[in-house]
Symmetry: C2
Subunit: 423 residues, 2 copies
Amino acid sequence: MNTASICTIGDEILIGQIVDTNSSHISKALGELGIRADRMLSIGDRREQIISSLEDELRTHDIVITTGGLGPTKDDITKDALAALSHAGGYVKHAEQERIVHEILHSRGLDVLDINLRQALVPDSCEVIPNRLGTAPIMVFRFPRERFGHPATLYSLPGVPFEAIGALPDVIADIRAHYPTDRITHRTLMVYGIAESALAKKIEAWEDALPADMHLAYLPNQLTGIRLRLSVYGGDADEAERRISARFEALKPLLGEMLYAESDTNLQTVLGALLRDSGTTLSAAESCTGGMIAHLITTVPGSSAYFLGSVTSYAVPVKVRVLGVPAGTVERYGVVSSEVAAAMAEGVRSLTGSTYSVSTTGLAGPGGDESNPEGTVWIGVSGPHGTVTRKFNYHNDRIRNIERFAATALDQLRRYIIEDLKQ
Amino acid sequence: MNTASICTIGDEILIGQIVDTNSSHISKALGELGIRADRMLSIGDRREQIISSLEDELRTHDIVITTGGLGPTKDDITKDALAALSHAGGYVKHAEQERIVHEILHSRGLDVLDINLRQALVPDSCEVIPNRLGTAPIMVFRFPRERFGHPATLYSLPGVPFEAIGALPDVIADIRAHYPTDRITHRTLMVYGIAESALAKKIEAWEDALPADMHLAYLPNQLTGIRLRLSVYGGDADEAERRISARFEALKPLLGEMLYAESDTNLQTVLGALLRDSGTTLSAAESCTGGMIAHLITTVPGSSAYFLGSVTSYAVPVKVRVLGVPAGTVERYGVVSSEVAAAMAEGVRSLTGSTYSVSTTGLAGPGGDESNPEGTVWIGVSGPHGTVTRKFNYHNDRIRNIERFAATALDQLRRYIIEDLKQ
């Protein structure tokens, strides 16, 4: 099996001002080829550290992929370090990349500056994959066996996530052309509505019976619940698929309606498919989630086919005037109540004429009181067969509470719609 | 200066299923002490790799901070690896952490299982900082000079971001008590509405005149624009602050109204302060941004003081019925038009009675047509002195376009309100 190391270059990551999301995308793409990324590394914009760290990674890996440090500004020194590392004789202009630089800047209505044109200069020791989404080309350095004890390749990608992800198909094609690729077989089940430790207890006997070459991982996430990922490294791919499927079939009865998908996806995508396939529509009335539910739903391409709209009613008068929540209901039961959640869901459903609706009213924090501590939320779901509400309590900070409230609302909606469509 | 290495442990990061956000928080906290994180590393759930990688990091750094691999499930093996690395004689129960495990599970209405109680067992070679937010304690391993050639400390933190961040103040206090701490002086200006290369060109002369011990970084981000960070390592802190301030004062006239803050913040926080300080209120009407503007605004604690609410009008009838956009305007000018943006902003302002309002109508993609290609948005802002609209074009994928649209809307709103408050 070939191994890979993924390195991000840039002080902005080391000092914590930027979170690295590129490595995750690169690793997933390598995994599809059966190439295992066994290290990820972040280093700073320091020439000597870049050179020595990359030499270390090249000594211990077949493939090293770097991102970052290729920007037009003076703090970006990766290209210079790579020229030194690869004993380049000088820089050459790459005509196709220069053409792209002109094209990109013109389309944005910007002047082409000298610092932009310098982006099309590359060390004469590398091959170039043009970057069609940005000004810095992808550089490929191939090192012979003598240099690091084995043939090694270094791919240098831009740091801008959009450009790095856009360059990946070309990089993967180059790897596929130069390396024998093995295979890792993964499959994932998506589960919502149970804590990680409770899930582990629930499926303990099943997990203990897994053979030694299968690896189970629990991957909890605020917005998607728990990913249960079963992996087999190497071996025949079809056989591995069959063995994983058989294990998952035995697991599914234990998961019941907490299981919401059998591939790596999320609640809003599953919910969108339910709505599209049944020709139904959706609206939302959000208080404490402040737009997060609508935002999640509309991240799905094509969501305009089933999502009519939403009202974020942060202020009480908006609940009363726009959603038609009776002022007396707010007064009698308080804003954070089953009654207000129900009236909000019914109000937005009637306002938009949607088949289904969902509502939230609660306290994301900071702050709360005895009857409704911080982290309390009432979720309402309304549809052709009536309105239901349910209360949940979480124990997080403001942003995590908002995320949990929104994800739980999507999950409640999913469960309601599945039941409703059976009727 | 003391150096630190930050290591995340877990296959979920290496295979790209999870993005590591902990390292960024840890690095920022170390930076405040003047401790430079000069490497970040991610490794998998493999005992031998954990041990050898951590030994390497301990040999080359004073402080190593790990996160992850401490969960209750069988794929979490960090504790076992740390016991081996530190030559532990066995495991001991930590009474305070066991009490917390009981407390946390009870508050969530869960049974206390054996696998939960195992969380309170720690190698006898470590000191413990109790984790009040989760079940896995923070472990501190102190290695004498003989072991790695210098005194070294390893802190093992849980991987759950909420718990890792919660543990940081105690870890920082421990570091402060055991290490002489130096200082890095950073200051940041926040800029919105210009491309990185254009900004670099604009301030080139100023940047070229910076002394050698000052380091400028450009940190572009979809949602916050460009952070311009000026750093000085070491030296007298007050003197460094004064020198940075003098440089920034010379830079500010070049930035004009693109400069929106003089500390590391974001548009929604700056906008919130403007509204709160002027006693004014805000509402939003969102089409293509689908709730993202309301979500960003309500991530700010206390936003209920000035944010009344919003309408996400994804479907045309919602624009007409709820926001009062004339059906004839949609027909004549099309949904993506200056006229509809203006009518949406005015409609939501009159619906909620807010002082100001903002609207978006555009195409996040995928898809578009000749007159309105993918990435086109009209933004409207309305207030006591009238309504203005402006068109923007971006060239990204759906989610990045949504983010840019929403951030640009917040920036347009900020510029409008600043002008409006002068009148």
